[in-house]
Amino acid sequence: MKYEAQTTTLVEVGRLIGRVEQFRSDGCRLVQISATKNGEMYEINYSFDKDYKFENIRITIPIDQEVPSISGMYWGAFVYENEMHDLFGIQVKGINIDYKGNLIKTTIKYPFGAGAVLKGEKP
């Protein structure tokens, strides 16, 4: 059994695009984008891979901050970014294919976002 080494780097929102461009020019593929609610902040992980070398960059944003889309570099990123919007309520600016909240329609709005209430819970 081998566990792979994984690196996570914190990046400022403003430098996100620059870093992603660098990954792109290094020939990395986009593995995934995911968001995590961490208290009053959202963490967003952008994971890349080249030859089984896994690298992750992370931005931390306040709940109402807009993030830039990386779909300019990685065309397929629209899936993750739309999902992030629909589940977390994170506003992503400039997605190439913007579903405007219609990728995943949910009973409650932004079920993973701040203030989302699960079934059987009280707000």
Partner: protein, 359 residues
């Protein structure tokens, strides 16, 4: 100006038992626009992490998808084990590998059958599913479940397989291999199938890589991504090559899966030959604190479970990135400009697992 045909392709459509929708805009039968709608199977199971203790959450993870359920549980367990620093007994790793490969066999055979049905070749559908039943029998005999096995747990596996059973499995595989050879020969040699698959839904190597294609979809385009090469479970002790094809069309993707059946059989045989004696689980105590991107190779491609513990029995976040989700952008690209008759074929060619994709 001639009018176009707008077809709501799905959500209910015989081509896939699972619901997915495409707005197809056709001129004659030429697809000029195809946009997917997903979310018909979205349950929101990732949030159940807040209500289930981490060992119990395995049951939820397994039911992300009924086809590759074992690999979901494996990936989740390995993630937790990494965070908690648990050393799982070697025999458990081998058993996990064996069951993973059986899952892959059953998944690929299922796909070959559905795919044959998609191109109107009902006989092959029946043939593939008949072989698949013998795989399911093995899974049922060794784990108790046909499609959802529930045999993986944090810290190992629930059941051991006896040495006699392992021998018998190895022997049975020879017969299955013969049957699969016959089946895949038809798939890869039949002219009417070639006519339907060659040069349909072509995905170039560059596109495959940069659009995020994984699994057979990527390998069909010549991108050799196979996460088993990272050596999780017992794969570091087994030898195999990632199966790739160059053309990037539906035929290539079909060929990749057909050939992978043999890789899987070979891997199972290797694993059975090399499996060490010993216990199959260890007791796990404590709670995970930390994070990990647990990756594995599902039948459909790279699966990522992002797990984050906060020191309690309840994880802070589980995020399941399934291969079908990342194969959707390539699919959107492939489907543009094809023929109506190709639409089901192309959709099937990424082996979509909507249940996985939408969680």
């Amino acid at each position: 100006m001639t009018q176009r045909i707008v077809i709501p392709f799905g959500p209910q459509h015989p081509v896939l038992p699972e619901p997915i929708h495409f707005d197809l805009v056709l001129e004659d039968e030429h697809v000029v626009e195809a946009l997917p709608t997903i979310g018909y199977v979205h349950r929101g199971l990732e949030r159940l992490i807040e209500k289930r203790e981490y060992p119990e959450y395995v049951y939820i993870v397994e039911r992300t998808c009924g086809i590759c359920s074992f690999i979901h549980s494996l990936t989740y367990c390995q993630g937790i084990e990494q965070i908690m620093g648990i050393e799982v007994p070697e025999r458990a790793h081998f058993l996990r590998t064996i069951w993973s490969e059986y899952s892959r066999l059953h998944s690929h055979l299922l796909w070959l059958g559905c795919f044959a049905d998609g191109i109107g070749f009902e006989n092959l559908f029946m043939g593939a599913w008949r072989i698949r039943e013998s795989i399911l029998d093995v899974l049922e005999q060794t784990t108790g479940g046909r499609v959802i096995q529930s045999s993986c747990k944090v810290g190992g596996v629930r059941r051991d397989i006896s040495a006699e059973k392992l021998d018998q499995m190895a022997r049975d595989l020879d017969g299955i291999q013969k049957e699969i050879e016959d089946l895949t020969t038809v798939f890869l040699q039949d002219d009417s199938i070639r006519h339907r698959l060659k040069n349909v839904g072509v995905l170039s190597k560059e596109d495959a890589y940069h659009l995020g294609a994984v699994g057979p979809t990527a390998r069909g385009s010549g991108v050799a991504i196979d996460l088993r090469q990272t050596g999780y479970a017992a794969y570091d002790k087994l030898h195999f090559e990632a199966v790739t094809e160059k053309d990037g069309d539906c035929y290539a993707r079909c060929a990749v899966r057909a050939r992978e059946l043999f890789t899987s059989i070979d891997l199972i045989k290797q694993a059975i030959a090399k499996i060490p004696e010993g216990p199959v689980d260890i007791k796990v105590t404590g709670a995970p604190n930390g994070e990990y991107f647990s990756r594995s190779e599902q039948p459909r491609g790279e699966l990522v479970h992002y797990l984050r513990g906060n020191g309690t029995k309840f994880l802070a976040r589980s995020r399941i990135r399934t291969p079908t989700l990342t194969n959707v952008p390539p699919l959107v690209k492939m489907i543009q400009g094809c023929e109506l008759a190709d639409v089901p074929v192309i959709i099937l060619s990424i082996d979509p697992c909507i249940g996985c994709m939408e969680r």
